[in-house]
């Protein structure tokens, strides 16, 4: 059995193996950030359809179809495992795309379903008097939504969306299933080269932990800021 320092040297220093972790972390962050952007975009669109459907008395055929599609999307995404969605996307739907792009899209589509419900609740948490005030000033429904409802809705759900960011960061650890070298896969590659599992996997776990703790601290700061601006 090698000494601990020898193991650490072999796992991380020798032949620059730490770069597996560095590059992996880069991919993890890349996928997380862009997936969240896609997720928020999809989330807003779906939330708007759902809210419009709930608030409209006379529902047109287009609105019914859109709402049906959104409902179906939410059911499928939330009812199946992320890994399975990722593999179906990689091996079936987009068999010829760049892996990183496919991963971003998959995680974005997945995240969108969860963000949609968060934003929908945010929109519904805004007092209905706000919409009435906007409309009574002659603003269209669209402008009232953009300038009055959504800014308040986003403020209300900012902590929840940031939380989704943290969840998403950890979820991307399954990207290795489709051959993407994310942080988790990076540690696993080191393990397969050195036949030494504990240090690389511990390092991977620690990196996730440090990032998540750091992001959670930021989340607390955001929450405190938002609470402060509500003070009278």
């Amino acid at each position: 059995m090698n000494s601990l320092s020898q193991r650490l040297y072999d796992d991380f220093i020798d032949k620059g193996r730490y770069m597996y972790l560095v590059k992996g972390l880069g991919n993890t962050v890349l996928i997380t950030v862009f997936a969240l952007l896609i997720g928020v975009l999809i989330g807003v669109l779906i939330a708007l359809v759902r809210v419009a459907y709930l608030q409209t008395e006379k529902k047109g055929i287009l609105l019914r179809i859109l709402n049906l599609i959104c409902g179906l999307y939410l059911t499928i995404i939330r009812g199946t495992p992320m890994v399975v969605q990722l593999m179906i996307m990689y091996f079936v739907i987009m068999a010829s795309g760049a892996p990183l792009m496919i991963a971003i899209l998959s995680f974005g589509l997945n995240s969108g379903a969860y963000v949609a419900e968060v934003i929908r609740s945010g929109i519904q948490s805004v007092d209905r008097g706000q919409r009435e005030a906007g409309r009574s000033l002659g603003l269209s429904g669209r402008r009232t939504m953009i300038y009055i409802i959504l800014p308040q809705a986003f403020k209300n759900v900012a902590p929840a969306i940031f939380n989704e960011f943290i969840v998403l960061l950890k979820e991307t650890s399954v990207a290795g299933y489709v051959g993407i070298q994310d942080l988790t896969k990076g540690g696993d590659i080191i393990r397969s080269i050195t036949y030494d599992a504990f240090p690389p996997l511990l390092a991977v776990a620690l990196i996730y932990l440090v990032i998540v703790v750091f992001l959670t601290q930021i989340l607390h700061v955001i929450e405190r800021r938002l609470a402060k601006s509500d003070l009278r």
């Binding site: 008395e57 005030a133 409309r135």
Partner: protein, 260 residues
């Protein structure tokens, strides 16, 4: 003190500002259908100040909210300034831009400064540039003595200040008519006066107003006509003098005896 020239006043035509015919509204609730308005007919002349009183649940707020179509009437016809606004295909945004509305709970936009609250709509609707709207807002705020609050957020204001800003926000659109939906009901008693004062000044300048309120003194002093609404119909209407000193209908008498 003057706010602005009121556009409705310069139009000297004889047609009423608002004309309502057989207005009905039924709400569909889980408990069944509730007919809140059971056929309302009324004309409101230019410059007239109509005060609507009645017990809670009588339909007076619903009636007011139908006037700018915040509630869609189940049936009936409403004409505003010559345009039938209950007709299909009418651009309600254009109609509402000419009809200010003041709410019981102020409904200021909490994420925007007082100035931005006032200028948002005139600028978005391209009635004014941002600079023009800012100047106008400054002027209007000066009129209600809140010039120094232009950069404050609504949460930093008292209830009375909020409601005065809300009135000014509506006035920034240079409306032809103002609707007030219990504008003082959510205020602490000591703040009611300052809001009523602004409304009185507005009335003196000739603004056409429809006011739902429980402030009987305001009705007495300002109204050109008082409507008593009960169970979805206008039960009685008269000049404030006659209305308060000589109510005709037993329910009106009963109502007045309870609140005066």
């Amino acid at each position: 003190m003057t706010f602005d020239k009121i556009p409705g006043e310069t139009n000297g035509s004889g047609q009423p500002m608002v004309s309502v015919r057989d207005l009905r509204k039924t709400f569909h609730t889980l408990a069944g259908n509730v007919e809140v308005l059971k056929g309302i007919d009324i004309d409101i002349a230019r410059g007239e100040k109509v005060v609507i009183v009645g017990p809670s649940g009588s339909g007076k707020s619903t009636f007011l909210r139908c006037l700018n179509m915040l509630e869609t009437p189940t049936s009936g016809r409403i004409t505003f300034n010559g345009t039938e606004i209950t007709a299909p295909g009418v651009n309600l945004d254009e109609i509402r831009a000419q009809m200010g509305m003041v709410f019981q709970h102020f409904n200021l936009f909490p994420h925007l400064t007082v100035r931005k609250n006032i200028t948002l709509s005139p600028v978005l609707l391209k009635m004014q540039t941002q600079e023009e709207a800012d100047q106008h807002a400054e002027y209007l705020l000066g009129r209600i003595g809140l010039k120094d609050k232009a950069d404050s957020y609504p949460n930093q204001l008292s209830g009375g200040q909020k409601q005065r800003v809300a009135i000014v926000r509506s006035l920034a659109m240079k409306p032809k008519m103002m609707l007030f939906d219990e504008p003082t009901s959510a205020l602490d008693p000591e703040m009611v006066g300052e809001v009523l004062e602004v409304m009185k000044e507005l009335a003196n300048e000739g603004m056409t107003m429809a006011v739902v309120t429980h402030e009987m003194n305001f009705a007495r002093d300002v109204a050109s006509r008082v409507l008593f609404v009960d169970e979805g119909v206008i039960l009685e209407q008269n000049t404030p003098k006659e209305f308060f000193s000589n109510p005709k209908h037993p329910r009106t008498k009963d109502f007045l005896s309870k609140i005066l």
